[in-house]
């Protein structure tokens, strides 16, 4: 049995979406045990009348809620009785709990994960790896999308390591093509960080480094993982999302400008729905915080039940396929190589 804690509060559609997503994941995954954290009375109210295997579900009462506008360090210190901190504490104290899912404050979650849950052996800093759909029909991971803004070449190397293992273990991508986000494709492009990281990435065992990638090529399907500092990664992911949203809005507005367009759009309704679903990041699960000693999945604040279910399945996939062990083993190998080279 794989035990996953689900923080039921803090998201825009919580607790309903978080609870329904958990029940749906329970139904589909017979090796899953879910621990719901949050106000017990409210959770029970939301569970009532629904059918689920109660032998694989538990509630941990934690009535407080951390809101997105709270300062992360204050929130985790002052709200120990919050649904998020209850889940974090399960990971910290209970060896039988493998991971957690939250749709709450990103800042509080990262801070709590780093300070309370700890890192895998040799990991410098955990980092986020959201998954985006490519136009070729596949996916691409972006690591890091905002956990760490001031970083070193060695951190980019680690992103390539655990990002590759993540794509292998959860998405069955055999030999992930790893690119570094840069302002040109040639070697030697970019700032000092990129220049130093380039050769490091090319010499990392277990990493299939294919070179630099320009941001305009993110969705082409030519790459499986893109490594970047958290600042430009955040820009990359949010610009993609923002442009798609704004463009679809513009399309909708234009359609309503002429009757003939409305008729045409009526015939294309299925296509537009597909396109919207395709660009809906909720369908691709949450952003996993890679490098923590236990699995932490951050769902989008507006996650619906399907998105929460996907987040739980991401955590399950990592645990089933020994993400942590594989990562520590490869990082050990890299550390040994480095010692041999230096000594």
């Amino acid at each position: 049995m794989i035990r996953i804690a689900v923080d039921c509060f803090g998201g825009d559609r919580s607790p309903q979406a978080n609870i329904d997503g958990s029940l749906s994941a329970l139904e589909k995954n017979k090796d899953l045990f879910v621990i719901l954290t949050g106000d017990e009375a409210i959770i029970k109210e939301n569970l009532s009348g629904k059918s689920y295997d109660s032998s694989r579900l538990e509630i941990v009462h934690a009535p407080a809620i951390i809101t997105p506008d709270e300062k992360p360090t204050d929130a985790i210190r002052l709200k120990r009785d919050s649904s998020m901190m209850a889940a974090v504490n399960l990971l910290r104290k209970d060896d039988t709990v493998s991971g957690m899912v939250s749709t709450g404050s990103t800042g509080a979650l990262v801070t709590a994960a780093v300070l309370r849950i700890g890192r895998l052996r040799n990991v410098i800093r955990p980092s986020f790896c959201p998954i985006l759909p490519t136009m070729a029909g596949g996916i691409v991971g972006v690591c890091d999308s905002g956990a760490n803004v001031d970083i070193t070449p060695e951190q980019l190397q680690q992103y390539a390591v655990f990002g590759s293992i993540y794509l292998k273990t959860v998405y069955n991508i055999e030999n992930p093509r790893v690119a570094m986000l840069n302002i040109g494709t040639e070697a030697g492009k970019g700032d000092e960080l990129r220049k130093q990281a380039y050769s490091l990435l090319g010499n990392t065992p277990g990493v299939n480094f294919v070179g630099n990638m320009e941001s305009r090529d993110l969705l082409t399907g030519n790459y499986d993982l893109v490594v970047c500092d958290g600042f430009s990664g955040n820009v990359l992911v949010k610009t993609t999302e923002g442009t798609a949203i704004e463009l679809l809005k513009k399309l909708k507005k234009e359609i309503y400008s002429k009757t003939i367009y409305k008729v045409g759009a009526g015939l294309m309704k299925g296509l537009f729905t597909n396109l919207k679903e395709f660009m809906n990041y909720q369908n691709y699960g949450g952003s996993v915080l890679l490098g923590t000693s236990k699995v932490v999945v951050k769902g989008h604040g507006s996650s619906n039940a399907t998105a929460v279910e996907k987040c739980i399945e991401q955590a399950l996939g990592m645990e089933r396929n020994a993400f942590a062990e594989k990562t520590e083993s490869l990082l050990d190998r890299i550390a040994e190589n480095k010692e041999t080279t230096n000594g």
Copy 2:
């Protein structure tokens, strides 16, 4: 008469697009004098049979061409007889020439501009400011989009200064709303660079700083100018472009998947053409290198005649409305304030 040099070679559609764009700009702007640089015989061949005011056009023979794959420093040193360097030398040596337009190698152009043309008084480093269309029907400038990757807070401040003056002088935006690209909108977000720049921007005379902007909001129309380091600015601009292109490609592919979609799309043909034109950055001119002592406009490598014409008009607008004088005067004021504060 405002004299602008046009580098006729180096772009994908050159020299035809560059020459036709120049003739079209000549026709519309009676205060314009154009100096075409490049292989004289080829230019004359392209001019033959066309009607234009020959008293406002001159050719400077320069047979070599700098290609995008050449190392910038080598190119500008070894190809002094190239069309690009001929234009650069006109700016450097001829006081009557106000600016230049090129659709050639970006790297060579930046290097040549910095080393040979020089900067306006007090400018730390010139930087690119491309213009993007917003979904609200207006435009937004992004400064810097890739000229400088390792920068200081003072550089971000200067981008805000000359970017604001540029939007005022060329686009008649009275009091441009300036935002700083960041990973969150709250003050205090981001890396060290952003933290330091935030208060600096808020205290800059002549700059209407409205705070941080998340990349997903670039196209909303809520901002007129976004300042950022060249690395994340490059990611911002190219991701916007890439996502729009990939999404329109996907749309096209889907349309061809079903007959009914094809029928619907047929009715919406005008809309799709408008949308494509709207997202076509060629319609918004080139990326101006702000901060050089004379105007340098970089057109996209694939610029057509319309794009080249727009580039020339950008240069004209800056010269007509005294961009250089206004920028130097405001930077002087900031330097004086700083001395007063420090002393």
